[in-house]
Symmetry: D2
Subunit: 159 residues, 4 copies
């Protein structure tokens, strides 16, 4: 995360630099057709997808995604008849080297914070990681104390 001068001067920017990002979850009654529709609807609304992960079962899928404008995406998909939900998550950058994530996860489990799920992708020297922990506030506090490179919500949306 890089704090810009803007973000230091205004309450709005500070909110935008909140470390809790909004993840959008969308129920896909059928995994394939509905996913095409979701991406089409978001595309028409000019909303970009920074990260996606599908929690699937045999009949259905649940798309979890990070989008450029979560509230707008929520409204667009709701209006198009989708069952949607916003969930808080925490994102971080981790060196893209073997064992680096293990260190971060150890910080959390040492403090009794557990991971419900995560998704992650490497990009050059770093890996972007989205975490849904059991306790968001504790997770944020621990990772900040350990100087882990958290990604502000605002920056995550623009990846």
């Amino acid at each position: 995360m890089s704090l810009t001068s803007d973000s230091l001067n205004s309450p709005i920017s500070l909110t935008n630099n909140n470390m809790k990002a909004k993840q959008l979850s969308v129920f896909l009654e059928n995994k394939s057709g509905r996913l095409t529709e979701v991406t089409t609807e978001l595309g028409k609304a000019g909303i970009n997808l920074s990260a996606m992960s599908i929690a699937d079962n045999s009949d259905f899928g649940i798309l979890r995604c990070i989008v450029s404008e979560p509230e707008k995406a929520y409204d667009v998909l709701k209006a198009a008849g989708f069952a949607v939900k916003l969930t808080d998550v925490i994102a971080l950058n981790c060196p893209n080297t073997s064992g680096a994530l293990a260190v971060v996860l150890q910080y959390l489990s040492d403090s009794g914070v557990f991971i419900e799920y995560l998704y992650s992708f490497a990009a050059g020297n770093i890996a972007h990681i989205v975490i849904r922990p059991t306790d968001l506030d504790a997770c944020e506090k621990i990772l900040e104390a350990k100087k882990v490179d958290l990604i502000a919500a605002n920056d995550l949306y623009k990846l």
Copy 2:
């Protein structure tokens, strides 16, 4: 995908430039502690994680991941007592713009190929997308015919 001179000269490299990548799946009896163990074991073996996604339920998680050396990772985790499995997936690059993924998904659904699950992360101007389709061969053929920028297994492992 960038074919190196090596890959043009040897059968081994050609295999490595296969478009079907090996995804490693690992059963996590408890989501948090076991995930730390997996990343620790892989770290000790010098294996890097390019992409991760956890398919979770209330009690368990299943880690799906792309690693630098899938077969070695399989052996390392098997030896450490984990239930593991290798699954073929297809990865592609997509412009990181709203609506671009919808076009790719439409190619597939128009041809009767469906998505079981996917995970994806943007990186600057592009988004890396890992797909598990209902039909791998058809998926590969369709995306190649449509000139979609597939990521060779070898390149995906090194992200």
Copy 3:
């Protein structure tokens, strides 16, 4: 399954005695509150639940259930704002003895029919089993040829 004289005389009854039952799936944005609402809505409509199983993840649940009147339940829940879907399943009775189900499953896997999921409960000397196979027609044909005691949809709804 017991064919009544009625069922032998009318096309409607024959349909009702179809071996493919309608399973109702309902998306639960939050597992607990929404489940109470579903059961309340069905209760108000006089619809009974014969069997239930929740496919859950950390944030959500998907209720799969067998109800006394599937189409009516679909309409009631749709009107109440739920994302719902009907899926064909096959139900059977199996002796409630160790190993009996293994025999049935072996018939299916020997013929290349696989189980997506199932749920089951013993009741005295028998166990009721609901199966979602990869191939419904083949599943029905194999189990009938092996004289497995299939449960007609109509009877399953009234359990």
Copy 4:
């Protein structure tokens, strides 16, 4: 639940009449073949399946089941190379009438106890319901106070 004279006289029986039952969870690397193996192994060991539910995704399944002898089943499957786990659940009988389950669920949600997942099957006038709540002790206390007909572990195993 019916306390037998035996159960009133010995500490062992009292333990057996505990309201927290042991659910066995088994990881199925492939849903169909492995399920046949699990049921075959349990059958060979003379262990009966009272209730089953599969939490599935596209590649895998997790079998949750109630068996006649949970610890023995755990050992048998562990020895056969399966990833297994025991989890506490609570079982209850509910009148098999529309709306009856909604009342029970309302008791729980009114007290802040939530359902992670459940599975259930009707049998004549009653429905047997297995619940995995967020708080087992609170769940048990609330349901007992409300005179809900809990099923003792010992009785559930013998269904």
